[in-house]
Point group: C2
DNA sequence: TGAACATTTGAATAACTGTTCATATGTTTA
DNA sequence: TAAACATATGAACAGTTATTCAAATGTTCA
């Protein structure tokens, strides 16, 4: 018997509910990716970058100016946002212009805001 | 001049866009709370707990059984979920039954899933 | 009351993460 | 091509966090 089960013998577990939960839970990869996605939103620098991009694309320089952060820090975060397909980049001459890659970004942030502003 | 501005002189910054972003960005407290909220979703244990609670309330013991984790680890995470008002607890005898505190939880996770499953 | 059970909590540890600094890459223009 | 600029990247450090272990709290029942 595995360790986690020892704390609670058979009488107290609602085994029907538990097995139902086990059927409903997405597979491990999906759960990992899902948590990974929210982790990206879980940093105020990245959230600020995303909200900054709500209305128009911006170059890295604009973002670091708006956020009051070094260009390097912003660029590191943009890479994470790019990897997770939340923003996309477009080069124009020396500058890279970033914009939101996905409508879900707006929806997710809006839901989050409505939760905390209640 | 602050350090972050030095990387990029006035010519390259789109100062009209930047000042517009500065007007639109939520205040610092809101941004912090927002990131804090998403941070809670950014852990696969907590996401699994939340999804497990989609259909019915469960006691701590059920959750630890379903997730294959120690009851202590689950309890620690439940406290975080409670603090952030994502779940609520109800005592019935020796057991604590937890359930989702908020419909936003379902919406946010659904949006996240639809993002990664594209 | 005391024993048994379910849950919570605090401290410690190991793993992870964001920023900084230095440097590299890529682009334009003189 | 060389210089200047915008961005990207690697390594290192400091701060954060999830789990474990041990112990405490709260509840029921004999």
């Amino acid at each position: 018997m595995s360790k986690h089960a020892e704390c609670c013998d058979e009488k107290c577990v609602h085994s029907d509910l538990v097995s139902h939960v086990l059927e409903q839970l997405p597979d491990e990869d999906t759960l990992y990716d899902l948590a990974e996605l929210f982790k990206v939103f879980g940093d105020s620098t990245r959230v600020r970058i995303l909200i900054a991009l709500f209305e128009s694309e911006l170059c890295v320089c604009d973002i670091s100016e708006a956020l009051g952060m070094t260009q390097s820090a912003v660029s590191h975060q943009l890479q994470i946002l790019r990897t997770n397909k939340l923003v996309k980049g477009r080069r124009e001459g020396k500058q890279m212009y970033y914009s939101l890659a996905d409508e879900h970004v707006v929806t997710i942030i809006a839901q989050g805001l409505s939760h905390i502003l209640e």
